[in-house]
Symmetry: C2
Subunit: 246 residues, 2 copies
């Protein structure tokens, strides 16, 4: 059979099905047969079954005896799973996913900054101050590549410094949005002076253990970020998940 694969068959199967479901090629309600997937992917039952089990745990499919493997509606997918996020960013849902992430950031980062002011270890506070200064240097010099690196590390440190593992877990997704923003040219050629100052404000407020100051400065960064990005997803429809009647 096919040889010379660098990734495992399991990984390939999960990826294949995940991208096609999240990407919309396999619509909600679509039913597949395990046996059919075997020859479609040229793999054995074990590989298909293990992949389906993983997708099941992500809420992408359900298995029904005597019926097959059914694709679940999008509102059943776990929107926080890194795989699901990556698949959405790679497909049609990119715009909506970026908006969701940006709104989540705008909610979380101010609170993370406030918590970091109360809890972060000393070394992290100092690194944060150093990075905010380096960001200003890079920004004034117009060195956008270096600025992006510093920006990513800055926000990662704030999330990590909150001491909340759920916030810290968002580092990857935030990194994704920051790089995505510059790659897609949604970034001003020079960072706004205000934004540079706000980053320094956040760092110094955290260093000074002033929670509300840190929160307010972070909120300003988020408001500006949202304002910059909002036009690019104005056309994305919003989906309202029905609330289960108890």
């Amino acid at each position: 059979m096919l040889t010379s694969m660098s990734t495992s068959l399991h990984h390939r199967a999960v990826e294949h099905l995940g991208t096609r479901i999240v990407g919309g090629a396999l619509p909600t309600g679509h039913v597949m047969l395990a046996e059919h997937l075997e020859d479609e992917l040229n793999v054995s039952r074990s590989v298909v079954r293990e992949a389906v089990r993983v997708l099941q745990s992500l809420g992408l499919v359900e298995t029904i005896k005597r019926v097959g493997i059914r694709v679940l509606p999008a509102h059943r997918w776990n929107p926080f799973d890194p795989l699901v996020i990556r698949w959405r960013l790679a497909g049609e849902g990119r715009g909506a996913q970026l908006r969701s992430l940006a709104e989540l950031r705008s909610a979380v980062e101010p609170v993370a900054a406030e918590l970091a002011a109360g809890n972060a270890p000393e070394s992290l506070r100092q690194e944060l101050v150093g990075i905010s200064l380096a960001m200003k240097e890079a920004g004034d010099a117009g060195d956008m590549a270096r600025f992006l690196d510093l920006d990513i590390r800055f926000h990662a440190l704030v999330l990590s410094g909150s001491g909340n593992e759920m916030f810290a877990n968002l580092i990857g997704q935030v990194t994704e949005t920051l790089t995505g923003r510059t790659v897609h040219g949604l970034m001003p050629e020079h960072p706004q002076k205000q934004a540079l100052q706000w980053h320094m404000d956040v760092a110094h407020a955290i260093d000074a253990r002033d929670g509300s100051l840190a929160r307010d400065a972070a909120a300003k960064i988020m408001r500006q970020t949202i304002a910059e990005l909002a036009p690019s997803w104005d056309d994305q429809p919003r989906v309202f998940v029905p609330v289960a009647r108890n």
Copy 2:
């Protein structure tokens, strides 16, 4: 061995391993052999392997050839996965998990209220106003069971009304914290008058499409909630995840 299982062997295997890892019975770095798990659970290889694949996708374990199945450190676990959250709530990590969820709520709900004011469909706005009034009735009457139901639905509607699928996905976890709070007697016997008023403020602000008013009122609710709950997790140590150097 045990018979009369209503759940599948796969489900049982995932549950068995998940609870023991998250609960701390299987420490970080502990290595298991697939074969050993087979006779520990009295199941076949396929069941063990499919369960391990699911746990792998949750970040709980990694498989290494020639070594076995190794338990990963807690900071590798997906803290947003419903299974992981449930296992943490059921075990040692309960306090830390409740704090994480409360902090996440305090970050998300004000922004969700703000977004709901801008986006929620008409019917949802009206139901929200109705529920806030019913909450006041139930609160004044001291009917705490009814109040809890209404409270849960209120916050679920706000999250749903935001039109952000990540926010809406937190409904389950928020419900968990609300019920947990009353079950564990951390709830005042009568709801605070202020809190009742703030809920009505949120509902009316959303109905009136006043985003900042809705956000501020929701933030007040969250501040009070955090203040009520904070004493119960004062002793929980915070964990700071190291930020990967790019």
